[in-house]
Amino acid sequence: MIKPPHGRRTFLTHTMGALTGVALWPSPAAVWPTLQGAPVRIGLIGAGRQGRAILTELQKTPQVEVAAVCDVLGGRVESARARAQSAELFTDHRALLEKRADISAVIVATPTHHHRAIVEDVIAAGRHVFCESPLASTIDDCQALVARATGVKTVCHAGFQGRSNPTYRRAQTLVRTELRDLVSLGGQWHRKTTWRVPATTGELDRAANWRLDAEVSTGLAGEVGAQQFDVAHWLRGRYPVRVTGRGAIRLHKDGRTVPDTIELDLVWDDDVVMRYQATLANSNGGQVEVVHGINGSLRLAWTHGWLFKEADAPEQGWEVYATRQPVLNQEGIVLIANATQLAEQGQLQEGAGLPHPPLYYALMDFLKSVAENAPVACSFAEGARASTVGILANQAITTGRAVEIPALA
């Protein structure tokens, strides 16, 4: 008997050829995207926590130069310089657009209710734009941004990250091929935090804590749920038609009116339901989406993903090569793109998650659209639809009534 050189999977890869492995998983280009073409000079508008996370990811790409950072608060923009060494600093985005004609692409990471005005200015200035999700906080603003983006030659990318995530892209094909008919969907976002941020010098508390301001905030449904609802829309290829929900303040009884805990049912026209929970009062389980089909289930946790097969589901040839992990007392097949090759190259331990955070992949998709004319991974029209579902879900919570979701063009 010939002893496998390293292990069963390694042995199979060696003896049966890498072709099967390549056919099984997406190409390494999905996991390790590279940027071709001319360097891209970027401006960032909004230097809060999300803006700083964006700067961290952009720093990984040598072809990207962050040439300007803007925030209405001088202290915040100064602290952003730590992650953008050569950036010119601005406190007015219009000044950035006027003065830095050399900047071809702008990333907008301001509070949601400011997106429309700023993004419209960016488009009018002829720059490519990446707008963080959700696209806007009202349906009118969403539609206005779609109208403004229609027909322009620049890239308009909405930052819904699931569509750019290699693990989720792998999952999308498995929904069709492995799960077959859908039974139900689920999702949760659990994080124990007040969702309150301390106002910095010169900032009003209400402005700093806009997510807790019912006049401008779309709450947990709009601010975090929309990102996850979009995963469900995208995996299904269709949007829900109705949403019901309820909300409560379970922990943070500090005078706020925006619920710290919500539950939603999003219903599709074939009566498939996505049950969604989000809370600021408990952190168990974190952020996850699940898709149940008659032949199996997918559990998607942003940097990780697993497929669980039903006992009576047919076994596929590629499962021989699959990495498996125990997850919640079950054995899941790990959805890591090109895991076998990466392990062979010593670049990734088997079973580990993605080598970059999901935000990185969304930004790389945007940059590839800018530099290489690649198709836009999430258009403003798609971003507006996803944002609208979040806005209407929040409406269902605040009114306590079922809300019909119109057919979204």
């Binding site: 730590a82 060494q85 010593g346 993605l354 990185y360």
Partner: protein, 274 residues
């Protein structure tokens, strides 16, 4: 970072801020620690450290100002301790029974001399020979420094935070006006009194594998510190302005067993018998 961080903010002594604002400031500080954990862990494939370990042998990796400062401090302690503290020890850990990095370090060589820094471009690159960065000996202190900066930026003048009790930072004084007091042993025989000062304690026996291998390794000999027949000093405690510098030096002193001439004058070293 495999440990529990705790934070105390003295509400009554921070009169200019409401309890609600102070809690928000505390959460911002904890988020800062969580962010640095995500960036500096060698066990997650999507961390900055994993990115450096995958990339820096092929091309220079740009660093932000904070991480750049962290690496500079680590290399300063490496030089001043003559190699007793070294952020390239990762290959030794799996050999000793500890978990390997997400980007496997086995096969890499040890020695910070293999790191090439470009101050103008603020980049790090691996020179000749394969090395692997492990910031575990300094990351906790760095996260505490950054979290303390967040608290100070939001007007917190009296607080104490620590990570796993072995590294910590006092902001101002305790509510009673006295320095924050840290007991260095269960009986409270040895104490540190801190006001606007950080500390780190290094104990070679605090983490061991089931086989008894200690987590602190002498990078020069590749031997575990607790494996040596005579560890003359036991645990070392360093206090001073920065938790990350104290963190690195406490490890170096535990390895060295003595305070070297290049130990920084703004820091204080002491020993606790095993």
């Amino acid at each position: 970072m495999g440990t529990r961080f705790e934070l105390v903010i003295a509400a009554g002594s921070n009169a200019s801020r409401s309890p609600r604002d102070l809690r928000a400031a505390g959460e911002a500080a904890i988020e800062e620690i969580e962010e640095w954990h995500r960036r500096l862990t060698r066990f997650a494939p999507d961390s900055l450290v994993s990115h450096i370990n995958r990339t820096a042998a092929k091309e220079a990796v740009r660093l932000d100002e904070d991480t750049w400062g962290l690496v500079l401090d680590a290399l300063q302690v490496w030089r001043d301790s003559r190699g007793a503290f070294d952020i390239t020890v990762a290959p030794l850990m799996p050999q000793r029974g500890f978990a390997d990095s997400a980007v496997p370090a086995s096969g890499a060589s040890v020695g910070s001399g293999g790191l090439v820094l470009d101050p103008a471009a603020r980049t790090i690159r691996f020179g000749a020979g394969r090395v692997s960065v492990d910031l575990g000996g300094i990351a906790k202190g760095h996260a505490i420094d950054c979290a303390a900066a967040v608290l100070r930026r939001h007007g917190v003048g009296h607080a104490f935070l620590h990570g796993g009790t072995s590294s910590g930072c006092a902001i101002g004084r305790a509510p009673d006006g006295r320095p924050w007091r840290v007991a260095l042993d269960p009986a409270g025989t040895n104490v540190l009194d801190l006001a606007d000062e950080a500390y780190a304690l290094s104990d070679p026996g605090s983490q061991t594998t089931p086989a008894g291998a200690a987590h602190i390794v002498d990078p020069r000999s590749c031997m575990g510190v607790a494996d040596r027949l005579n560890n003359p000093a036991g645990r070392s405690v360093v206090s001073g302005p920065s938790a990350r510098v104290a963190d690195a030096w406490s490890t170096a002193l535990t390895v060295l067993g003595v305070v070297p001439p290049a130990f920084p004058q703004t820091y204080t070293a002491r020993w606790i018998s095993p």
